[in-house]
Amino acid sequence: MSSTNAFTRRGFLTASAGAAGAITLSPLLAACGNSAGKGGASTKAGIQAVLPTFKPLAGGVTPDIPVVSGADGAMTNPGFVKYPTNLVKTVTGKVGSGGTYTAVAPSWNPIPPAGNAYYAAVNRALGANFTSQPANGNTYNTVIPPLIAANKLPDWLAIPGWLNPTFNTGGLVGTRLADLTPYLGGDAILEYPNLAAIPTGGWQCGVWNNRLYGIPSYTDGMDVAGAMLYRRDLLEAKGITPAVKTAADLMALGKEVNNPSGGVWAFDDNRVYLYQVFKVPIGSWYLDNGKVKSANEHPQLLECLDFCNQLAKAGLLHPDAVAGVKTSNPSRFNAGKVIIIGGGLGGWTASDAETGSAAKPGYRVGAFPVFSSDGSTPSIGLTSSSGWVSYLNKNLSPDRIKECLRIANYFAAPFGSYEYNLINFGVEGADYTMGPDGPVRTTEGSNTAADNVYNFFSSAQAQVYNAGYPDITKDLEAWYADAAKYAYKPLFWNLNITVPDQYSKIAAGTELDDAATAVSTGKQPLSYYQEALATWKSSGGDALATWYQQNVADKGLS
């Protein structure tokens, strides 16, 4: 019922970006305002022309679990079982030239006091006066628009992908935010080796109207909506080794473990995470014989809703999930009241294990390898490579932009580097001490360095590391390596599209999401969704599809 900030950064990132993308919009989609009034997107050739050259960093730390390449360009993230002991230096020479910059990014932690020792240490390393002003992440959507309206944007601004429609990023680029193409496009990026090592998909999220504007953070080699997770410890205690290969298997397992009189139910509301199982196209649109159609009307979506409805009708859903009650810390899953839950993989972390172990020692999460409802070869759609992109102010001079990019290069130092350690943990002794599982924050460090605020301006490709829980890293990497084989890029993948004003309400599809929830929680029959869909299509959904057809697909932009 109350929403708390139990998300870790990474958890929040993947969970919300993934789920939001899966439910209604691609997180990159932007409703637009005045100047960009007509809407549109970049062309394929235009994107290729401005994308930076990808060059893996030479001499970085070797991961314990190497990157695995899968289908359609999917790559797993590097995994680390232990924290590297020999830290490498990836940035040599002077970084800043004494410039002063203010930068704004969202924060879901208590805001550290200004001018603290950790900030000072980072500034010394940068050779610049970089003032980060973290703003409350929960109200970020309302904090930034007044700055935009008053034309008081900071020098450097982080915009989460799902806020592009709210901030009208499509209208800001070029008018308020600097074009970085001359500095980073093509081989120009090689001047900044850490930035050049960010996978190309991330940079694509920063391209608007055929120019490169944004610097990606937390870029994934393959980001997906999530997976079906289960309580491995509880199933093992019952002697069950799940082998779920079809939707029917899933339901059978659910019936086996469901125990309402004991206060334990099989499932939470898993609708959006079952889309993958039923092969509902990820994102909002798909091509049907060359025709753009809304994923809302895909036949498999109806199959999926019908299945969810059956689960609910069979009494396999926790009543609080049916009632839409949200709990966290511990969640119903953490507390063992739900056995199987769909979730973003960003939530499968050491901190989740700590919460779960506090509720029940021996807590362990498992994920069903990707499967399909009918047992055919499964598929899993990729979501956008980066949910976080930062932008520089257009008023900065070229020299200052270059200084900022050198700073961004510093922030993008990979895991296992000296720079990464400073940015993420601060100064050894003051902010953290080295324990057997890696850095352990001191009280001072928890108050200041734990905020990770610099990572929102630029960061290296995401990696998997869970201090004290190497098993999580191994399980997660194994799941990804398997899933990568079935990856596909959906229509309009990583494409920033600006939709004209008149479609913004219909694009949000609130009524469809409501109807789908009502069906999947068993409150309404499938026909209820079909009626809502018919209304949605006739009141603008079809017109929106036609707009996409004419302005994006037919122009070869996808």
Binding site: A149, N168, H318, D320, S504
Partner: protein, 341 residues
């Protein structure tokens, strides 16, 4: 867009009689309603005389201006594709497009219908309860017991809706105390919290649980103003308890009841935003979507501020008509309503 919050109502009887002569007295004597001395004073003299009162009222007027009147200019966004980047002045002006869309939106009319039904149910089932409670409490003679009961019934008012609904869910929800008890004893369960048909009664019950105790304050004040001599004379004349309640207590409260009813009608389209927001998913929007949640989900929730503002403006206009009509009706019935005619 509340036209009027449940206002601080000063009981009629508490006002000094000399300042506000009643209509009856005016008609009897046939004199000017405005005291003669007030007309003679010029503006400056009156300013000097009322100085302290004006200073006291200034902060409230300023607050009202800043938080109630200034934002009204924001309703211009109801006629725009409002975009925060461009602000009120530079967003695309689209005339009545938001309104034509709104009136063609079945979900909007559904929310409107839900609002009216919930409001009516609350009016019938909720409104009389504080009056009954006040009369009951008034019959308790022991001051200690009275204060104790008052403290107990006031307390839930200070709980937030999140807390109240969580408590209800823990007690009556599908995995709550009641249903787990029923399950363990192999009886049929009854999930009240996500039962759409029951929803209007459930939320009224929640409102009664939380607010009815607090609502008795104004009625207690009205009761305190009734002259005890009336009861004594009636008792001497042999009037039973019922007759005394019917002929003395209720007429004594009538002005206050009508005032609260007028205010309530002006607020008829406010059926509890937070309460609905928190339970919207439990029963689904087909039962819990009201105008406020509609404006929130379809307007604020997905950045279509203009559309949400249009829904809010529509609600404000209806509320204004309702409160005007209720006030007119009160005057027709010879009551004061919001102000003395």
């Amino acid at each position: 867009m509340a036209v009027m919050a449940e206002g601080p109502a000063v009981p009629e009887e508490a006002r000094p009689k000399s300042e506000a002569p009643s209509r009856e007295r005016r008609s009897q004597k046939g004199t000017e309603p405005i005291p003669a001395d007030r007309r003679r004073l010029n503006f400056r003299a009156r300013l000097r005389r009322d100085r302290s009162l004006i200073i006291m009222i200034t902060p409230v007027v300023l607050l009202l201006l800043v938080f109630n009147y200034l934002p009204m200019f924001g309703t211009v966004s109801a006629f725009e594709y409002y975009d925060p980047i461009y602000g009120f002045f530079h967003s695309n002006f689209i005339g009545f497009k938001n309104f034509t869309d709104l009136f063609g939106d079945a979900n909007f009319w559904h929310a409107f219908q839900n609002t009216l039904v919930l409001s009516l149910v609350q009016l019938v089932l909720y409104f009389p309860i504080p009056i009954f409670l006040a009369i009951l409490l008034n019959t308790v003679i022991s001051t200690k017991l009275r204060s104790f009961i008052q403290a107990v019934v006031y307390l839930p008012h200070f709980f937030s809706w999140v807390l109240v609904i969580t408590i209800f869910n823990q007690m009556l929800g599908g995995a709550g105390l009641l249903n787990q008890f029923l399950r363990r004893h192999h009886m049929a369960t009854w999930n009240i919290m996500s039962n759409g048909g029951m929803f209007k009664y459930l939320i009224t019950f929640q409102a009664v649980w939380k607010e009815a105790g607090w609502g008795i304050i104004v009625f207690l004040a009205a009761l305190a103003a009734i002259d005890p001599a009336l009861y004594e004379s009636a008792a001497v004349d042999g009037a039973s308890r019922w007759r005394r309640t019917w002929h003395i207590t209720l007429p004594g409260m009538r002005g206050m009841i009508v005032l609260m009813l007028v205010l309530r009608l002006g607020n008829a389209l406010n059926v509890g935003f937070e309460q609905m927001l928190l339970q919207r998913q439990a029963v689904g929007p087909q039962h819990a979507e009201v105008l406020d949640t509609f404006a929130y989900y379809y307007g604020i929730g997905n950045g279509n501020f203009g559309y949400g503002a249009a829904a809010g403006l529509f609600k404000g206009v209806i509320s204004l008509i309702l409160i005007y009509a209720a006030n007119k009706a009160a005057h027709r019935l010879g009551e004061d309503g919001l102000y003395r005619k």
